[in-house]
Amino acid sequence: MITNAIYKKAITQPLTMEWDDAETIRLLKSRDEEVFGQLFKAHFKPLRQYAFTFVQEQQVAEDIVQTIFFKLWERIEVLNFSDSVPAYLYRAVYNESLNALKHNKVRRLYQSWLHRTMNHQTDSAHRKLHQDELEKRLHKAIAGLPQQCRTIFQMSRFEGLRYQEIGTRLGISPKTVENQMSKALRILRARLIEFLPGIALFLTSLISHSNH
């Protein structure tokens, strides 16, 4: 067993050092505020980034992270971390973000509608250029991925993290990351199949291949 001091150092740098989840949980459950603070500070930015992919507002994303840690501290004794602590945190942010969206759904619908109408002229041209139908569908499909799958996919794609880094950050094995990544792409492909180039493009690509 590592000493608390070394251990505390380890969890402040979760990306570079291995850390012991059972020990974190023990310290957290003993209400060690210092360990809790380090856990918060180590995960604050990545979790906020993650929340942002749902709520699209930095302040709201920040509030979500604060809220989940607040709730975590309130219920720390009775919590049962079925997987790792970071995996728990990401799941909590996921749930809290969906809650926030549900809560704000009506207001948001209205605001986004307003926004769209007000910027109608410039916006429609802009959208055509930058976001075609496939991208729109893709956006939806990513949002519809199962929680762990979505988290891992976004870390890989949006943050450019390697399998190993994702595994360390979430406290799971690189093998799990590998499975989840291929699951994500498989699901996305199945959901987007109508919008993916069919046989026509495939033929042209064949021809261009044979020409080479």
Binding site: Q66, Y163, E178
Partner: protein, 324 residues
Amino acid sequence: MNQQYHTPIDDLLVKYLLREATPEEKQVVETWLNASPDNRHYYEQLQLIWDKSIHLTPSPLIESEGEEEKAWQTLRKKLNKPARPRPVIPLPWAMAAAAAILLPILFFTFFGWPGGNQPLQTLSSNNRIVRDTLPDGTLVTLNIHSTLTHPKKFNHRNVQLQGEAFFQVAADKAHPFQLAANGVTVTVLGTAFNVLTDSMTTQISVESGRVRVANSNGAIEIGAGESITLGSTDRQLQKHASPILIHHYYQPRVFVCNETPLGQLTEALQNAYGVPIVIEDGALSKQPVSVTFRDERLDRILSILTQTLKITSTKRGDSILLKK
């Protein structure tokens, strides 16, 4: 090629795509790709999804040096607020000692604590709005999924709220009515006001009279027709004019408009009925309306509005569009 279920080649294809594959794995993938045009087509579809998804990367957040520390300090303050003092139960004590303690507790439970720690009572609403009169005569309308904790006997009037409630406070200058929610304290003499809390914000709107709102940043007084909204990190005490009718929506759906801009009414309506209502042009949303609706169905309200304002209302998907 099976599209739905896991095949070992998928893991390898994705590793290959993401440049995570070992040289041996690369070899396996390339052999597989060359084995059939279908295989290559399948891979190209994954590749297209992967390439497209980079465009969906959210814009980078504004980050500043040491902001984790600042955020942590904000959270720490909240954690250390003694919201619910933990009762210390002296379990291992001898029976005699326990009895000596229990007797006064029983006494105070029945006759009230002399000081602050009175027995508390909880008023909760689940799926329906609850209206009740507190022991001091204050009328409370508790919105759905809200909880109010108040002392059983009002020696002093300190209450706590989670969710949303509208208070019509009984006047009693000697005993100010005090409400605590999300680290904000609202002090009242005699007034009608609304408090909405959720995990992120606290909003206080005053219908009549004045209240004093205090948090760790200081205190401010707000009066009739004013409101204040505080975020969990944005705790600036800054008041703004409040759309007075808003908080009426969860009382049995009463909307009192007196020269109220149509836009404000539709906002209250969409909150109450859960249907987005969109007004086509800005001028129309500023159009003042004077009307009172009590427990009307939304379609009836819309039909009255369209007839009196000479506008049309059309359903567009999930929302309703109002236009001239």
